[in-house]
């Protein structure tokens, strides 16, 4: 079962995060830095898998936290800070247009291998098993549309309705992209 919120899973941790979020919203930079350290890997993971570009993912991660600092006054605590930040991260990634050229270039690679090299640098967990490294690389090589939906649905655990809203498309479209992604991944992993 996909795990949507792997950070701040415990009530104590969630309370601490929300407390830091309140302090940060009032201008407490140290509280915001604690939030950053608590969430940076998860935000980076989302960015890296969505754009399949290590450098771009680092830039986007920074963008996410700058936006979070600017928007913290809008965080009302209806959801956990982790959930709020994650949705903000998705918006930042999807609104980003700078990566388009690089992604297009990857698509033009007839062998479809361009993503493999880049994801090798993206993976930061030395504990990841080999099969999962293969999967990371195969996800990176997916077409952007299919990759976005696959990451949001099968990795992050969002529902089609939520993804469709985020992407501004229909659920029929997200289901088609997910189907495509799964078959492309199966083919890539069975090569």
């Amino acid at each position: 079962m996909p795990v949507v919120a792997t950070i701040d899973a415990s009530p104590a941790s969630a309370n601490r995060g929300d407390s830091d979020a309140a302090s940060a919203a009032a201008g407490d930079r140290r509280a915001f830095e604690r939030l950053y350290h608590g969430h940076v890997n998860r935000v980076y993971s989302l960015c890296a898998r969505m754009v399949a570009d290590r450098t771009r993912a680092e830039e986007l991660t920074q963008d996410v936290f700058v936006r979070a600092w600017e928007k913290l006054h809008l965080f009302k605590g209806e959801s956990s800070f982790s959930t709020w930040l994650h949705r903000l991260a998705i918006n930042v990634v999807l609104n980003s247009r700078k990566s388009t050229a690089r992604e297009d270039a990857r698509f033009d690679d007839p062998a479809g291998n361009a993503g493999l090299d880049s994801i090798a640098g993206v993976v930061g967990s030395p504990m990841a098993p080999g099969e999962l490294l293969d999967l990371e690389a195969a996800i990176a090589a997916l077409p952007p549309g299919a990759r976005h939906v696959f990451v949001l649905h099968d990795v992050e655990g969002y529902k089609h309705e939520e993804i469709a809203t985020q992407l501004g498309v229909t659920t029929g479209s997200t289901k088609a992209q997910l189907h495509r992604a799964r078959f492309l991944l199966r083919e890539a992993l069975n090569r």
Partner: protein, 243 residues
């Protein structure tokens, strides 16, 4: 009696077996087909394993520290510009305009830097000089958001803040007025709309401070609004001329 599902239909509908929800009759037909077809059963097993592996992918770590870059950006004033579609850089004649406008922007930048330094010393003291003085006219950052810099207020009340910013704002307004005819009208309109929004915020902060003069939040809000106004004016002064 429904006809048995074919393999091509199973491929098309296999997601019904992987994801919750969907049509129960379709799921039942697909499951029955997988029970009877080894190839499709293999496909289903592969996709189920893929889905499970995807769900247990761990978090990744950036290769470098990102906080220092974020912290630096939080210290940089950000000016709210609602419509970036009118930026001269996006117009065909932008390059020529930039060349013609460069000398003017450079001259303005010198004046702005001087006024910024004075304001910084008066309002914030020397410890936060980088926030205002370090940006200067050409260094303002355009973005669709409020100021990212956490304000630090040294002036004790609204009148003190007014006095600190007034001279700089007057000087910047004069520079903008001189440049007005050379700027793109659409850009001028955007700047004026943003200035009106900021002026409203300043007026509201002053009114609120009159009722609650000791509120740190209101003082910071007022300083922040003034920062935004000064930064917007600096950017306007440094904009390249229109064709």
């Amino acid at each position: 009696m429904t006809a048995p599902m074919r393999c091509d239909e199973f491929e098309r509908l296999v997601d019904e077996l992987l994801d919750p929800g969907g049509s129960e009759p379709v799921r039942a037909a697909a499951a029955a087909h997988a029970d009877a077809c080894a190839a499709c059963a293999g496909l289903l097993a592969d996709l189920r394993r893929l889905r499970a592996d995807a769900a247990r992918l761990g978090t990744l770590e950036p290769a470098r520290d990102l906080w220092s870059g974020i912290a630096a950006r939080l210290d940089t004033p950000v000016i709210a510009i609602a419509d970036r579609g009118v930026e001269p850089a996006e117009r065909p004649a932008a390059a020529a305009s930039r060349r013609r406008g460069w000398w003017m922007a450079a001259a303005a930048a010198g004046l702005v830097a001087a006024t910024a330094g004075v304001t910084t010393l008066v309002v914030r003291g020397t410890s936060t000089a980088a926030t205002a003085g370090g940006v200067g006219a050409a260094g303002g950052v355009l973005a669709n958001g409020p100021s990212a810099g956490a304000p630090v207020l040294r002036a004790s009340n609204a009148r003190g803040v007014d006095a600190a910013y007034d001279s700089e704002i007057v000087a910047l307004h004069a520079l903008v007025a001189k440049r007005r005819a050379s700027l793109d009208p659409a850009t001028v309109a955007v700047i004026e709309r943003n200035l009106a929004v900021i002026d409203t915020a300043i007026a509201e902060c002053k009114n609120a401070l009159a009722r609650d003069p000791e509120s740190v939040f209101l003082k910071e809000s007022l300083t922040s609004a003034y920062d935004s106004k000064v930064a917007l004016l600096r950017t306007a002064v440094a904009l390249p001329s229109a064709e």
